[in-house]
């Protein structure tokens, strides 16, 4: 079989935006890749795919799925065909995310200090105070440079007309950036000349920018502050990422038991004695970070670390209490936040969202449940979600019961079809739904977004759920320079 046949057999759903095809012809940005593929035989493509699998296996690029009873490490499925974003599209995305993050960061500062946005009636007090992630411990807490969100992963999707929508803001400990970096490394191995020929922008700066930002947060003005990545340990789903980031930045990877707080300073236990820590990039959730202040049963945290943080003796990244800003019910208010704090119109659109804590909206959702996706406001990773179009009557009834126990903890959105992108699967080229998670880094100098991101793919035909925990895979994501 010739590779040209692959393309002839690629059928795009007419109600879906396809990243590669428009009206039976290949979009400009994909031409380089398509021409290259056409020069390869099917055998060669299969070999590339095998090579990619082998590389992921040998490099241990894994993640863990929790729902199957115990932690099971899996290879993150990778599709060899890149997802390509044009320079114009990227400029739009970049501006939109920067605007959004500016507003979200101001929101966090506001709700933990003056609360102007509540006084002015933009966001109801109930919304904030009923959010389990609104941590009263952070009230009037001095945060270095007023930055709460140092690292954000913003999820974008594309509707049938190609317009971008924000699906979720991840402002706590967003993961996946190591896959963005690994996917690019694999592409370099698979198609060495393709990247420069297509003017693809590099993503390799990510660890350097992150490291530079972490250094700039050091409370001690010394040339080589001690920076650590704090991981919950090997059973965490993103442990691979923790090790990768620590390695790429050249900093220590630690767990809670490696640290101790004395006299309101954080120290790392080393073979040469205690060593003061200046900046902690923590991948431990708020609740488990400090057993003295939060969950007393936590074995993952460090007692007294919040007191060291409050004293300004250590910087913690991301700040604590960010969950109030990426709560899925608060999400509804982000466009208003942008207008309120920045006096600007939102560049990127929100997906219309129904709050189930609101009686009328809940009635409307219950009446149209088969057209809705329903999510818990403070869960991530696709856990606890109901996709109305595939749910059975019984599943919907059970879910309704759950909602009625605590409606505030649920939101609903109309099902958005997501754009499709070609995937090479079992010797065929097939369209699969994708989203996009770019990673933004905020430091004292401003916000930077590495040109790229993680494109997640719903590998099952017709599926709209891209989460790796729910059987999703990923693609290398190219942002073109011109």
């Amino acid at each position: 079989m010739q590779t040209s046949e692959l393309l002839n057999n690629y059928h795009v759903d007419s109600h879906t935006w396809d990243e590669m095809y428009l009206n039976e012809s290949v979009r400009e940005q994909y031409r380089g890749v398509v021409e290259f593929m056409q020069r390869l035989s099917i055998e060669e493509l299969n070999k590339k795919e095998e090579l990619a699998k082998g590389l992921f296996m040998s490099q241990g690029v894994t993640f863990t799925v929790y729902s199957s009873g115990e932690g099971i490490e899996k290879i993150f499925p990778f599709d060899i065909i890149p997802r390509i974003i044009t320079a114009t599209e990227w400029k739009f995305i970049e501006e939109g995310i920067k605007q959004r993050l500016k507003a979200l960061n101001l929101f966090l500062k506001d709700v933990y200090n003056e609360q102007f946005i509540i006084q002015d009636g933009i966001v109801p007090a109930e919304m904030i105070y009923s959010c389990p992630h609104y941590l009263r411990e952070m009230y009037r807490f001095p945060v270095p440079y007023d930055i709460y969100v140092h690292i954000a992963g913003i999820d974008l999707i594309r509707n049938y007309d190609g317009s971008f929508y924000i699906l979720e803001d991840n402002l706590r400990t967003p993961s996946g950036v190591s896959y963005m970096l690994e996917n690019r490394e694999i592409t370099k191995r698979l198609f060495p000349d393709l990247l420069p020929k297509n003017n693809v922008r590099a993503v390799t700066e990510y660890p350097n920018i992150l490291h530079r930002n972490l250094v700039s947060l050091s409370p001690r003005r010394i040339s080589k502050p001690t920076i650590v990545v704090l991981s919950p340990g090997i059973y965490n789903s993103a442990y691979f990422e923790h090790t990768t980031l620590a390695r790429l930045m050249g900093v220590e990877l630690v767990e809670g038991r490696d640290l101790v707080v004395d006299n309101h300073k954080v120290y790392m236990k080393t073979t040469a004695g205690l060593h003061q820590v200046d900046v902690i990039y923590r991948r431990v959730d708020d609740e488990f970070l400090d057993p003295l202040m939060f969950n007393g049963s936590s074995m993952l945290g460090v007692s007294g670390i919040m007191n060291a943080y409050r004293k300004g003796n250590v910087a913690i990244v991301n700040a604590i209490g960010n969950g109030v800003a990426d709560d899925k019910a608060i999400y509804t208010y982000v466009p208003q936040m942008i207008r309120y704090y920045l006096n600007e119109e939102p560049i990127l659109k929100n997906v219309p969202t129904f709050q189930l804590g609101h009686d009328e909206q809940r009635e409307e959702v219950f009446a149209n449940m088969h057209k809705m996706v329903i999510k818990k406001t403070n869960e991530s990773g696709g856990y606890g979600m109901l996709m109305g179009h595939v749910a059975s009557e019984r599943e919907m009834e059970l879910y309704k019961e759950q909602i009625l126990i605590n409606p505030r903890q649920f939101i609903a959105q109309p099902i958005i079809s997501l754009s499709s992108s070609p995937c090479y699967m079992n010797g065929k080229l097939v369209p699969r739904r994708v989203d996009l998670r770019p990673y933004a880094l905020c430091g004292p100098e401003g916000i930077e977004i590495v040109p790229g991101g993680l494109t997640r793919v719903a590998l099952k035909e017709g599926s709209l759920v891209v989460n790796s925990s729910q059987g999703g895979g990923s693609k290398d994501t190219w942002v073109l320079a011109i």
Binding site: E126, E137, Y139, L292, M293, G304
Partner: protein, 319 residues
């Protein structure tokens, strides 16, 4: 304006040396129109640096650490405090206007936080009992008094049968407990009928009159009375708070107000003793704390092997 000298000692003894201890204390009385601290001497084993900040509820919180191996931790606080009683609420507005006011402020800061209901299995029964009392015909102030009396009458004051880990459900079924349990139940009942209520931790200083809660830290409740403000109800003693209570901290529940809590690494085997003595202007002194340092009740199930249990035990119960 009564003046009290309070001596509060907390002593932890460990069987073998422990290290990496981090602690938090809420031992600094609230200062406002009704309470003034003249003097406070605080001594802690090893004289660590105590950092003090104001928390969300306005309490002064101290924190200190000790990473070195140690066998003992003593927190010794000597206080001189003046209190001033408040006049009773005039309570002259019609009940329905007062209830309407409470309904209006229910989702406003700070009241919203003091209405959040803790869920437990018998909450339905509590709701039924409250319903039968026909409280809506009373004013919120009268309601507070009535519920205060209900808890005092229906629950026995018995030391040692509950601990800091005892749940509301257990207390409700036991129909007994100490001041901490009484205060939690009153919080539940007041919030159930939409009266904002907060937990208060502190000392009771009754001089000769004799009150429950002497010799240890005490706990009670403050309810928000419309057109008046926060008013203290002490269900353990069935009284309004009026100049004989010294407030250390307020919060949504005990967990925001624990006078002393901490964590450490090392043996699970430790003892905790707490003593509080008060001297009065007339020269009378309740017993010296050294004489009445009372061992704190251990958690019922005996197992204290993991750090969570250790943490729970490090928190002293209020009586």
């Amino acid at each position: 304006m009564p003046k009290f000298k309070i001596h509060h000692v907390t002593r932890y003894n460990y069987e073998t040396p422990v290290r990496d201890s981090a602690n938090q204390i809420l031992l600094f009385p609230i200062q406002d129109d009704f309470q003034q601290v003249l003097k406070q001497d605080l001594h802690i084993t090893g004289e660590p640096m105590v950092d003090i900040y104001k928390d969300f509820y306005g309490n002064e919180v101290g924190s200190f650490m000790n990473a070195e191996p140690h066998l003992e931790l003593v927190i010794d606080s000597k206080l001189e405090v003046i209190t001033r009683g408040n006049h009773e609420p005039a309570d002259d507005q019609p009940a329905e206007i007062q209830w309407a006011e409470l309904h209006k402020i229910r989702s406003q800061f700070p009241y919203i936080d003091f209405l959040k209901q803790e869920q437990f299995s018998s909450l339905g029964e509590v709701t039924r009992i409250i319903g039968e009392m026909d409280l809506r015909s009373l004013t919120p102030y009268q309601t507070g008094k009535k519920l205060n009396d209900y808890i005092f009458t229906h629950f026995q004051y018995i030391k040692g049968i509950t601990s800091v880990e005892t749940t509301l459900e257990e207390v409700w079924n036991l129909k007994a407990g100490v001041c901490q349990d009484f205060a939690h139940l009153l919080l539940v009942m007041l919030r159930k009928i939409e009266i904002p209520a907060r937990y208060v931790s502190g000392y009771v200083c009754p001089n000769k009159s004799g009150m429950r809660g002497e010799g240890a830290t005490h706990a009670w409740v403050e309810a928000y009375i419309p057109f008046y403000g926060w008013l203290g109800f002490d269900p353990t003693n069935n009284c309004n708070v009026n100049g004989m209570h010294v407030r250390l901290a307020v919060g949504r529940s005990f967990s925001n107000c624990s006078p002393v809590k901490g964590t450490y690494k090392g043996t699970s085997s430790h003892t905790l003793e707490v003593g509080v003595s008060v001297s009065y202007e007339d020269g009378r002194t309740s017993e010296e704390p050294s004489a009445v340092l009372a061992a704190q009740p251990k958690n019922a199930n005996g197992e204290q092997e993991n750090s969570y249990r250790r943490y729970m035990e490090m928190i002293q119960q209020q009586q």
